[in-house]
Every structure is written in structure tokens, then in C-alpha cells.
């Protein structure tokens, strides 16, 4: 009787302890990465190589999505704004929504699914095939050699990708608003320029994307390092990376927005 009553609570307790344990492990893991990152910054070639895989190969998806998000914003914004006779404000609408929210958040979501999952799978497979253990045996620290370069590559790539996403989105809004619908190009840009502030909008958006970059890459390398060293374990770790990253990005975005704007 007592056993049947207690078991759900026992289960809940185990889940909570496990969640807190993983959180603490992730925090200590971040500390370890920062402590061990001297080598990856001194031997920059490792980090540059990872930036190629994390950043350069994400360019296509970022450019295309940014363009389409901007074009959709232009169309929908025009439909709504023209109802109130203020279609001139389209440039400001597109630029502000991209710079403040959509650029950092969508670029981070795309980055998590494109590069974060790849990082997790790669590190997880290295662990499953005992490559990480082999490194330890050879007195090579796997955190310094494998994890830290990927972490820094992700942290550097994320703001670059977000800025590019913003530019492509604004260009997409320009294509729809000015080229397709035929708004005045001068009004489009001047409305944008008079409503966008460098520090308030542009810099805050970049700070957001930097924070997202740290969060997404940490989740990705942590899930890979912590994966159960089996095929099923690596696959579930990859899924967890995408899901956890998406949730963390959106939650962090709310917190950052509440503080910044």
C-alpha cells in the first residue's frame, strides 16, 4: 500500500534530482571549457576549422530563411499597415522586428538545428567509438581538443549569422515593399533610419544573439559529451539538443527582452 503511494513521488524525486544534477554538470562543464580553452585559442586553426563546419556551412540556410522571413514580413506588414494608411512605416516595422526579435531568435533556432545537432552527433559518436577515451589515454584532454574549439566556433559564428539574417531580412522586406509593391524607396529607408537606434536596437540584438550562441553551443557540446555511448543514446542526445536549445532560446529571449526593451 505504502509502496504504491510512494512510487510516483519517488519517480518525481528521481526526475528532479536528475534534472538538477544535469544542470550542475552543464555549469561545471562550461567552467571546464573556459578553463581549458587556452589551447583552442592559441592553436586557432582548430577553432577556424570548426567555424567552417558550424558557421560557413550554415550560410545558405541563414541567407535563404532570412530573405523569406523578410519578404513575408513585408507582405503581411504592408497588408496591415495599409489598412491604417501608414504603409510608409513598413521599413521601420521590418527592421525593428528583425533586429530586436526575429533575427537573433530565428538564426539561433536554425543554428541549433543545423550546427548544434551536428556537434552533438559528432561528439556523441566520438564518445561511442571511444575516441575521447583514446585521447585521454594519450594525455590529450578531450575537452581542450574536441569540445572547446567547437564551443568557441559556435559562440563566434552565432552573432555573425544573426547579423547576416537581419541584413537578408531587411533586403527581403525591401524587395517586397519597394520592388514588388512599389512603395517609395526613400521613405522606406528614412522611416527605418529614424526609428532604429544603433545601441538600443542593433547592439541589443547582437548581444541577444551572443547569449543564444553561448547557450546553444553549450547545450550541443554538453549533450554530445554526456550522451549514452550507443547508437540510440547518440540519436536521443541529438534530439534533446534541438528540443532543449529551442526551449532555452525562447525562454532566454523573453528574459532578455524584458531587461533590454
Amino acid at each position: 500500500m505504502f509502496e504504491t503511494l510512494a512510487s510516483p513521488f519517488r519517480h518525481l524525486g528521481a526526475l528532479t534530482i536528475n534534472a538538477i544534477w544535469r544542470l550542475g554538470f552543464a555549469a561545471r562543464f562550461l567552467g571546464a571549457i573556459v578553463m581549458q580553452s587556452g589551447q583552442s585559442l592559441l592553436r586557432l586553426q582548430m577553432t577556424i576549422r570548426e567555424m567552417y563546419f558550424a558557421g560557413v556551412l550554415s550560410l545558405i540556410i541563414i541567407i535563404v530563411s532570412g530573405l523569406f522571413v523578410g519578404m513575408v514580413l513585408g507582405l503581411q506588414g504592408y497588408n496591415t499597415l495599409s489598412r491604417f494608411g501608414s504603409a510608409d512605416a513598413l521599413g521601420a516595422l521590418v527592421a525593428l522586428s528583425l533586429l530586436r526579435e526575429l533575427g537573433p531568435v530565428l538564426a539561433a533556432l536554425l543554428f541549433a538545428s543545423r550546427s548544434g545537432s551536428a556537434m552533438t552527433a559528432e561528439i556523441g559518436l566520438m564518445k561511442a567509438t571511444e575516441q575521447l577515451d583514446a585521447m585521454s589515454v594519450m594525455a590529450v584532454n578531450p575537452i581542450a581538443r574536441v569540445v572547446a574549439p567547437r564551443f568557441w566556433a559556435g559562440v563566434i559564428s552565432m552573432p555573425v549569422l544573426a547579423a547576416l539574417f537581419n541584413v537578408m531580412g531587411i533586403f527581403g522586406g525591401y524587395l517586397v515593399g519597394v520592388v514588388m509593391i512599389g512603395l517609395d524607396a526613400g521613405t522606406f529607408w528614412s522611416q527605418m533610419q529614424s526609428n532604429v537606434d544603433l545601441h538600443y536596437d542593433v547592439v541589443n540584438g547582437l548581444i541577444k544573439s551572443l547569449v543564444f550562441g553561448v547557450a546553444v553551443t553549450l547545450i550541443a557540446v554538453f549533450e554530445g559529451y554526456d550522451a549514452t555511448p550507443t547508437a540510440a543514446g547518440v540519436s536521443s542526445a541529438t534530439t534533446r539538443t534541438v528540443v532543449t536549445s529551442a526551449l532555452v532560446i525562447l525562454a532566454l529571449d523573453f528574459v532578455l527582452t524584458a531587461f533590454m526593451f
Binding site: Q45, I48, R49, M51, Y52, G55, V56, L59, A95, L99, S157, P159, V160, L161, A163, L164, N166, V167, I170, W189, M192, Q193, S194, V196, D197, L198, D201, V202, L206
Partner: protein, 167 residues
């Protein structure tokens, strides 16, 4: 993949990132190198500034001549003390007048400067004395309503006056 190829691509990637940030700063946020040495500040007291905000444009004859750099409430007179940063290349006379205008019916508010006739120019740090407040729509409607009501009551009283002799 060869190391030099990777270096090239990552270099291009970072260059694209820097170019994006520069584009966002210059073209989108319109960062113009406007330091304090190229502008001078004057103050103006307004009874009511309405929805005027810091960084709102200051225009003269529709031309942008500066920006609002600071807004404070004067604790003695309870007037709004607005600091204007005006471009050095524009000089105004001492009796220049400032009014708060609205771009369009519901647009942003800005300060319009109208040149006066005084031969002396307004010194940096000077004060614009001729000001007129923002047009607050609620007050305007309120005034209209009261004047309408007064008119209505005076009309009825004149009717009463006219009616009186007939009796």
C-alpha cells in the same frame, strides 16, 4: 578539405559578418559621426511637451537642424526643460521661437524653430524664450466641448431673453 580553403571560407564568413554589422549600423540605424563638437546645445522651457521624446528631430522650415538631447522637469517652475543639440552650421537669432509640432495627424512629434528678427545670434547654452506647447488632442477636444456647451447655454439664455418681452 585543404587548410587554405577552410581559412579562405572562414575569412569570407567573418568578413560577411563585419559587413553586415556595418550595414546595419550605417544604412539601417543611420549612424552618422555626429559628435558633440559639431553641435551646440540650447534649452527651451515648454508648459507641455506632449509626446516629445529624446532624439526627436529639430527642424527649421522642415529641414533637420538638430535633435532633442535631453528632457527634464524643472522642479521650480514645473515646466519641461528640453535641451536641443543643434548643428554648428546653423545659427539662429536670439528671439527664435520653438514650437512642438506633429508630423501628420498621429505621427511623431518634433520641434519646429522659426527664425526671429533679432540681429544677435543665439549663443551656445542659451535659452529659447518664445515657446509654444504641444497640441494635446484631449485638451483640444475638452476645450471644444466646453466652448460648445457655453455656446449652447448662452443660446438658450438669449432665447429666454427674447421670450421674456413677448409675455
Amino acid at each position: 578539405m585543404k587548410r587554405s580553403t577552410i581559412d579562405l571560407w572562414v575569412g569570407l564568413f567573418v568578413a560577411i559578418g563585419i559587413a553586415s554589422v556595418v550595414f546595419l549600423s550605417l544604412k539601417v540605424a543611420n549612424l552618422t559621426p555626429q559628435s558633440s563638437t559639431q553641435s551646440y546645445t540650447v534649452t527651451a522651457d515648454f508648459d507641455n511637451i506632449g509626446g516629445l521624446k529624446v532624439k526627436a528631430p529639430v527642424k527649421s522650415a522642415g529641414v533637420l537642424v538638430g535633435r532633442v538631447s535631453n528632457i527634464q522637469l524643472d522642479s521650480k517652475t514645473y515646466q519641461a526643460k528640453v535641451t536641443l543639440a543643434i548643428d554648428k552650421q546653423y545659427q539662429f537669432s536670439r528671439d527664435v521661437s520653438a514650437e512642438i509640432l506633429t508630423a501628420g495627424l498621429l505621427g511623431e512629434q518634433y520641434i519646429g524653430l522659426t527664425e526671429g528678427g533679432d540681429p544677435d545670434t543665439l549663443e551656445p547654452g542659451g535659452k529659447i524664450t518664445l515657446t509654444s506647447s504641444a497640441l494635446v488632442l484631449e485638451q483640444l477636444i475638452g476645450k471644444f466641448m466646453t466652448s460648445f456647451a457655453e455656446k449652447g447655454s448662452s443660446d438658450s439664455s438669449t432665447h429666454a431673453d427674447k421670450a421674456a418681452p413677448q409675455q
